[in-house]
């Protein structure tokens, strides 16, 4: 049985106000077709959980430019002038999370942990409102798990069971997000028959993937 679905059909399942984890580091490893379709369907009031908001009007930056986003949880928003403008004007809520903490909060959310202790952020603005716990004489912040309604991930290859393989730095947050959302939508560059992916090369098991976005038809 395939998990294949048309791009527009799968995006119609995302309601306004949903929280979305969207893979990618800048535009590398970002599900660019899903992002464009969310913009085209005019979704509103989204919370996006991303490493960054890419560049103005590009990739996930399209959702910022379209004012489709109410809240951003990210480690870095300095490369997108739209995010900076909306942030300084108070039009968008931005929660900045250290990149390693962001990754680990997703990991905790995906693997059933109630949080973790990290030295990152102790004694900085990041500490505000968080318990500081001492272990063997060193101080750590208690950071809580992070989950979302949907994860939109990009992969180099998938088979029809949803097993995912990633390429180089396009892996980034994608495998973590694929574990940490109620519904997981993958946008692979290539979909191969079941049995073509060596089990040892699979990074995200198909068991956690709900939908595979069909490739665009190519003519000629």
């Amino acid at each position: 049985m395939t998990k294949l679905i048309e791009l527009s059909d799968v995006v119609e399942k995302i309601p306004n106000g949903a929280s979305l984890m969207i893979g990618g580091f800048l535009a590398v490893g970002a599900p660019l077709r899903l992002i464009s379709e969310i913009e085209r369907q005019g979704k509103r009031d989204l919370t996006i959980i991303v490493n960054d908001t890419n560049r103005a009007g590009k990739g996930v930056g399209k959702l910022i430019a379209a004012k489709a986003v109410r809240k951003v949880i990210a480690s870095h928003v300095g490369t997108n002038s739209d995010t900076q403008k909306q942030l300084l004007a108070g039009e968008i809520e931005v929660e900045l999370v250290p990149q390693g903490t962001l990754a680990e909060r997703m990991r905790a959310g995906g693997v059933g942990l109630g949080g973790f202790l990290t030295p990152t952020g102790v004694g900085t603005l990041v500490e505000e409102g968080k318990p500081v716990i001492e272990v063997d004489g060193r101080s750590y912040l208690l950071e809580k798990p992070l989950r979302a309604d949907f994860a939109l991930v990009s992969a180099a290859q998938a088979d029809h069971r949803g097993n995912l393989v990633y390429a180089l730095t396009a892996r980034n947050f994608n495998p973590l997000m694929a574990m940490a959302a109620d519904t997981v939508i993958a946008e692979p560059h290539l979909i191969v028959p079941v049995g073509c992916l060596p089990p040892d090369s699979v990074v995200t098991p198909g068991a956690v993937v709900d939908y595979l976005v069909a490739r665009e038809p190519h003519h000629g």
Partner: protein
Amino acid sequence: MDEKMIIASRVARELKSGMLVNLGIGLPTLVAQLLPDDLAVDFQSENGLIGLEPLPFEGLADDDLIDAGGRLVSASAGAAAFDSAMSFGLIRGGHMDVTVLGGLEVDENGHLANWMVPGKMVPGMGGAMDLVAGAKRVIVAMTHTAKGAPKVVPTCTLPITSSRRIDLVVTEMAVIEPTDEGLVLRETAPGVSVADVLAATSARLVVPETVGVMPI
């Protein structure tokens, strides 16, 4: 040599063969270009790679391979790719020998501020807070002043990146080491006097009997 090249070439001397090194975006990335050919350093990029190299030729770029600043790069033979949790496991877990980061301010406690200017510029910390918290050695590579204003200050006025004391500050004028006794002036750049450095610094500097000349 312009000021950025002076800083980068002095920082390059801090790296040794066999080290795992993370270079921050901007000025620190210049360091990689200034290493002697016989020095085998592994560069880590927080977006998920050990074995970062510059592109050998135009046209060889792979769309799936960038550094943390978004530049298309290459992976060396023997490179390793991994996800963001593993990448920051390497950083926080004490596996990173050196990180070189840019800075907005460094103060007498050795605290670094480099991630936001409240009300003006809020780019975010990216990986900087994890790098300062977790790398074995943190080197700050920055210009000595910004528009004439000292960046080595008594107490950071900007939000700090970590409560950890950083290990070395390299500017185009001086090399400064934060210690228990305060900020120690270790070296001055060729043609720069101790008095010049003191005049461009608002923090109190400890000046030892001998201050070296920056080898660049």
